[in-house]
Subunit: 385 residues, 2 copies
């Protein structure tokens, strides 16, 4: 039997279906199956606007148990259980399933108009349920613990990639599941990002906060830069300690950095204290971004904010089953913070030749404000000491 | 300037467009951009049935150089360079792009009928070009080298996951890029699969040759099984040493296995020698599968072939920029081997309680036969000795 928390998720989806006057919603993507069923399977989940969700599982058959769970050979067998001809409007995952998959799913409902389940699910998933919050909290704790080992992994003569490999191993030992899920077919990442020196400014095709040249196969993050005296090393790696994600960035140094690096790092910490930690239910996401920008401009730090060659137009984002969820903390956002949202806040600065500085924490929005789920020392840690 | 090999790829695509009477083909997926341009970017590539390919790059702008490469803010600017109204048929990546992305791309060509670029590109990509073969050969060599370190990584008391983490690290040190690309939005994998004991029989939602319970977040591969005396350990990990992939499986043991395990392992090696290594241009892929099955049945090994609870219906597959390309070596295949194809052949057996045995190699189909690109000792190696 499913944990009652999953019933709450079904109800939240059903509330949107009723409001939008849509008969049913179908889920086939791995990430949304995790959301609605707690397990990945090949098949699909059917959420009617009223009544019980039903699950049609091709494989593995070991998951076929409990009420509303049916073993099938092909998804077309849904019509043996659901009066599909009577469905007059259906929401499918238009931003997650391929064109061909959507066409096949749409044919299951020959009389239905097509709506976007991705938008609905991304809206619903913005506000986390109690079980989700518990799992995010647990993962964030493991994430913080994994960071406590980073300093001990550095050896003189390492490249950024050498250090990253040692961190990857330690994180895996601490329970990291490896695979890192992003929203959007164009987005790819492997265990996160480690940026040192000039590579922090290298633009990438992906829409993450910072880039890094990476490799031809994965143009993101570390690129073999030798870690040298005077470099900042920004570590933004693997918060995937279970089904849910957390996001945590800390800055390290090789020896002492120029004063400007410490000043901008402290500015990032101040933005956390003065802006994000003052946020609460009702705060406009656009305000969070614009207030950051105003302070950054007043401090003369705009040319370094969120990149140099290519500057990200956001300072934070929701996260959960994927690393890039809603809301996005950008100047154009219409979103308002709500209790139960989980937000990564990451004001970062890129200093030419030196690297990136600043911190990122994951916050839970509670009735009384923003709770930091990733408390860890915030100062720049010298790896050589 | 692009390596002339990319021009050959454009020509192969154009030959299909001309034969199918399609005006042009558009590429937006990362994997096909790597194929046609050698780099990932945000934007799209436009291949007309005749003339030069054109590339519309949103980011990174650092890639905007050379003839036919245009920097744009949004893909709609293609109409500034191409007479899009005159296109009467367009192939888009219907099995790789989301429904919403395809709709947006289709709107760029308001008078065009829609065709499937994914099928065309998967057909074309089956036969590798000279540069691709060179890169696959190079990656396979690094893959073989990484396997030579596996034996030294085992320590008594390890779980399957502990051993996998040590192998991951060593593979990363040998140049593994980390990220592992699969075809199909439902497919996910992280650095490959390590299966020991009963976990080798656990079915998974994914369509790989074998499963393994894995974790809730990624139900595939190792699941924390303690490596104990008498277990077979099948290692099928990370052939991602560059942009191209190779596939390589070897079987290890903890101490001595029952005779049946060695018999079935030798049967797998025999299938490689007698069937795959005898394959040549013109061989039917279905014959390769059916001949395997006939020998396996004659040896009374059918109940263990490619799984027990859930048996895969194929014994090999093409690979290249993704781990699961065409052709598939299955009984239903209509494909014929051609010179330049690269095929992973993986006859495997799962023995209840013991684990999986057998080997997998990557073969290049040449004019004279199948060349093994992953030569490495094939016998079961005892990790405790």
């Amino acid at each position: 039997m499913l944990h009652p928390d999953y019933q709450l998720r079904v109800q939240r989806i059903q509330a949107v279906l009723q409001q939008a006057d849509i008969d049913a919603l179908v889920i086939a993507s791995n990430v949304n199956l995790l959301y609605i069923f707690g397990h990945i399977f090949s098949g699909l989940a059917f959420i009617p606007r009223e009544g019980n969700a039903q699950f049609f599982i091709r494989r593995p058959q070991t998951l076929v148990q409990g009420e509303g769970v049916h073993g099938v050979r092909k998804i077309e067998q849904i019509s043996e259980y659901v009066d599909t001809e009577k469905i007059s409007s259906i929401a499918l995952e238009l931003d997650e399933q391929t064109y061909s998959d959507v066409q096949r799913q749409a044919r299951l409902f020959p009389n239905a108009s097509l709506h976007n389940a991705t938008s609905i699910l991304r809206e619903v998933r913005r506000v986390k349920t109690p079980l989700e919050i518990e799992q995010i909290r647990q993962g964030a704790e493991q994430h913080v613990r994994a960071y406590s080992f980073i300093k001990g992994l550095y050896r003189s003569g390492m490249t950024d990639r050498d250090l990253q490999i040692e961190i990857e191993r330690r994180m895996r030992q601490e329970g990291s599941v490896g695979l890192f899920r992003c929203f959007g077919t164009a987005m790819e990442i492997y265990m996160g990002s480690l940026l040192a020196g000039d590579n922090a400014a290298a633009p990438s095709p992906y829409d993450f906060a910072l880039g890094g040249a990476g490799t031809t196969a994965l143009p993101l993050g570390s690129n073999g830069t030798l870690l040298e005296q005077g470099m900042a090393v920004m570590i933004d790696m693997a918060g995937n300690y279970g089904v849910y994600y957390s996001d945590l960035t800390r800055t390290y140094s090789i020896g002492t950095l120029p004063d400007e690096a410490y000043r901008l790092h402290e500015l990032s910490c101040r933005l956390h204290r003065d802006i994000m930690q003052q946020a609460h239910p009702g705060t406009l996401c656009a305000d969070l971004y614009n207030e950051c920008l105003a302070i950054v401009e007043a401090e003369g730090a705009k040319p370094y904010f969120m990149g140099t060659e290519l500057q990200a137009q956001f300072v934070g984002h929701g996260l959960g089953l994927q690393i890039n969820e809603l809301p996005v903390l950008t100047g154009r956002s219409k979103d308002v913070l709500e209790e139960g949202m989980v937000i990564a806040f990451e004001p970062k600065f890129v200093l030419p030749k030196i690297g990136a500085v600043g911190i990122e924490n994951t916050y839970l929005i509670t009735a009384s404000g923003a709770e930091n789920l990733t408390p860890a020392p915030e100062e720049i840690i010298d790896l050589t000491k």
